[in-house]
Symmetry: C2
Subunit: 408 residues, 2 copies
């Protein structure tokens, strides 16, 4: 991977994605084999004025070994230094940069049941920290190709060639060109136009239909807005882009109000495994049936994690002509694949989309219809012939998507 492009990408991650401000702390999460790129990102964070930069390195085979070998008590407890780290984060609100490079097949040997149990036991211990942090700090997720990931995407190329090719694709779909800062300014502006239009419609529900069998309605919350592209931190109004790339306009629907059948249009990579050819039947907002041609038990485990895991937290609209879809590549990674197509997410919704959300407690927002859960899993439902109609409370029908893309 050419150093000049690594630098351009790193700079965009710091300036466009995280929008690091002078005097802020920055924490970069990255796999051990991407230490070099993380260090380039750290360098740009210092250039942007970061006071302190920390890199949290992880190595998936060790993380898996730990879960498989360690007793569940030790795995589940918050160590004192973990607590201290959360307290520090709540106090200093460090910017978080997540550089992801996971091997889609990396978690094959993981004890998934134990892992889920650990997540369930840890969740209440970290819940208060998560809530205290929610919407308060800038964060961004960007990908960088590991050998294993690249070989999964391009199995017929050498490791080196596959990494080069995946990196090229990543740059392209993340809109990293000669002047990514200007390109992203325009891109954010276009996304905002769609977002403003959707917000102006005040829709009651969306009706999805596709030749793959999807026929599904999901109700929207009149106090919840559509969002796209960048966001602002709630305390200090700093604009940042949580995802690079981002092509979606999305909202949180009413957690308990959805009906019909939804067929996934792409496989889902979950806990390092691929769930393929699956569909859900919704009744009164909940998944009442889940079927998959491959890894159905994992799919069922996923929606059983907690009460909110079988309800929707997100509805997202992505046009068929998105760069990710144009690339023709299945990335085996949600960050990319979710930007190829319209999708839904099971699990926790976005509280910051609720009007004046800062006035409400988390519990109140859950009661007001924003789903709560320890999971948030996107799955793709967009197809080439997807039709989405918006229904207003006074009976108007407004075409939103036709043939898989924006109707307006």
């Amino acid at each position: 991977m050419k150093k000049t492009w690594l630098k351009k990408y790193a700079e965009a991650i710091v300036k466009v994605g995280a929008n690091v401000q002078r005097g802020q702390d920055v924490i970069i999460d990255v796999a051990t084999d991407q230490a070099e790129f993380a260090t380039i990102v750290a360098d740009y964070a210092y250039k942007a004025g970061a006071r302190y930069v920390r890199i949290n390195f992880s190595y998936e085979p060790f993380s898996i070994l730990r879960i498989n070998k360690e007793c569940i008590d030790s795995l589940s407890e918050l160590k004192p230094f973990d607590k201290s780290m959360f307290e520090y984060m709540v106090e200093r609100l460090p910017v978080r940069i997540f550089l992801i490079s996971e091997n889609p097949d990396g978690a094959k040997n993981l004890n998934h049941a134990k892992s889920a149990q650990v997540a369930q036991r840890r969740f209440p211990l970290i819940k208060s920290y998560r809530e205290a942090l929610e919407n308060k700090y800038q964060w961004t997720i960007a990908g960088i190709p590991s050998k294993e990931w690249a070989k999964k995407v391009f199995p017929n190329l050498s490791s080196h060639q596959a990494q080069e090719k995946l990196f090229e694709a990543i740059l392209k779909v993340a809109r990293i060109d000669d002047n990514p800062i200007e390109t992203w300014r325009i891109h954010n502006k276009n996304l905002k136009a769609h977002m403003d239009y959707l917000n102006s419609l005040k829709l009651d529900y969306l009706h999805y239909r596709s030749s793959n069998g999807t026929d599904f309605k999901v109700w929207l919350n009149e106090n919840v807005i559509w969002l796209a592209g960048g966001e602002k931190t709630s305390g200090s109004d700093i604009f940042y882009n949580p995802n690079m790339p981002t092509e979606e306009v999305f909202t949180s629907p009413i957690a308990g109000k959805a009906e019909g059948i939804v067929h996934a249009s792409k496989p889902l990579s979950y806990n390092g495994q691929l769930i393929e050819d699956f569909y859900f039947v919704f009744k009164e907002g909940k998944v009442v049936e889940a079927h998959a041609a491959k890894n159905e038990p994992l799919l069922k485990q996923m929606i059983s994690m907690d009460k909110g895991a079988s309800m929707l937290g997100e509805v997202a609209l992505v046009p068929f002509e998105s760069p990710v879809n144009q690339s023709g590549i299945l990335f085996y990674n949600t960050l990319y694949d979710e930007n190829a197509a319209c999708h839904l997410a099971l699990g926790i919704g976005f509280t910051n989309l609720y009007k004046d959300y800062e006035k409400y407690s988390k519990e109140e927002l859950t009661k007001l219809g924003i789903n709560d859960s320890m999971i948030h899993v996107d799955f793709m439902i967009g197809t080439a012939d997807l039709l989405i109609e918006g229904h207003t409370k006074d009976g108007q029908i407004i075409p939103i998507f036709k043939n898989g893309t924006w109707a307006n």
Copy 2:
């Protein structure tokens, strides 16, 4: 590097080096590019009954970037989670395993002056933790070849070949054979015989002479013992081997009592730079002159770090026929190179060598002659014709080393 040998080595590190006990916590420190080996070590730690294993990954170019770019206040302060980590260590006494693989030339771009300043400012903040931990927990240091290190040792080989060859050499000098546990049992027994003999002599001072110009006397403390090979933790009497390899029998001399000239017999790798062809003149226990053909300013900075940095903390005897010397390899790393030859160390001494050391405070032990400093830097003085005579208080002269090896 063959998996079977990686496993045998990892097992020996856990069982012989650290001697991990059932229920103990284990922290492994390692560079990001050695994550795979660290995970094998972690696996053996779990097999030995470890309750919790943590890996601290580091990446030298990032560590250097941080020091060069970050403000000195942020670098010097103990972050709350660092404090919490120290408190945890004092409470739980986790076993520490340090897997070292440093590029001998890795710190070329480091701002050494700033780095030294940071160490000086951090030292008082961590001193109480260090003292609370001293001699209380098992720890071990073992090497694993990085590409850069291997290329430094074998510049004419390919990276891969160099790594293979350095790994072979590491296994050989660390006495990792088909049954390293039995081999180390015998090795520790032999070292103990030399140690017991030296302790029985009750020497007043040692007199070193060599054809390279060394003519040097260092006085010994009657209450300080010689030690070799393994040690025991002070609280729980667990036997462990702090260094793999270890060939030395060593003690802490009287900090303020040494006279004469000492020529280094091998270069010193310090802060990632090589100090070559150097010698010290000692007067009343202190370095009063320091000269080096290469990197003299760094040498002088080193001995100026604090009061104790110009006085001796260690005297170590290593025979000329040690496996490290037999290998004929300059490892550019103290762990190995110190086991090739007799050496001295400037800086902090070993308080646990003082008789009934647990009865004394750190300050009392300093007054009793054990040197204190933030540094501890070994340098080699052993040569093929080194003569060491031991002088007793009643005027006896006992040959200790002749022609570079044990006289007895």
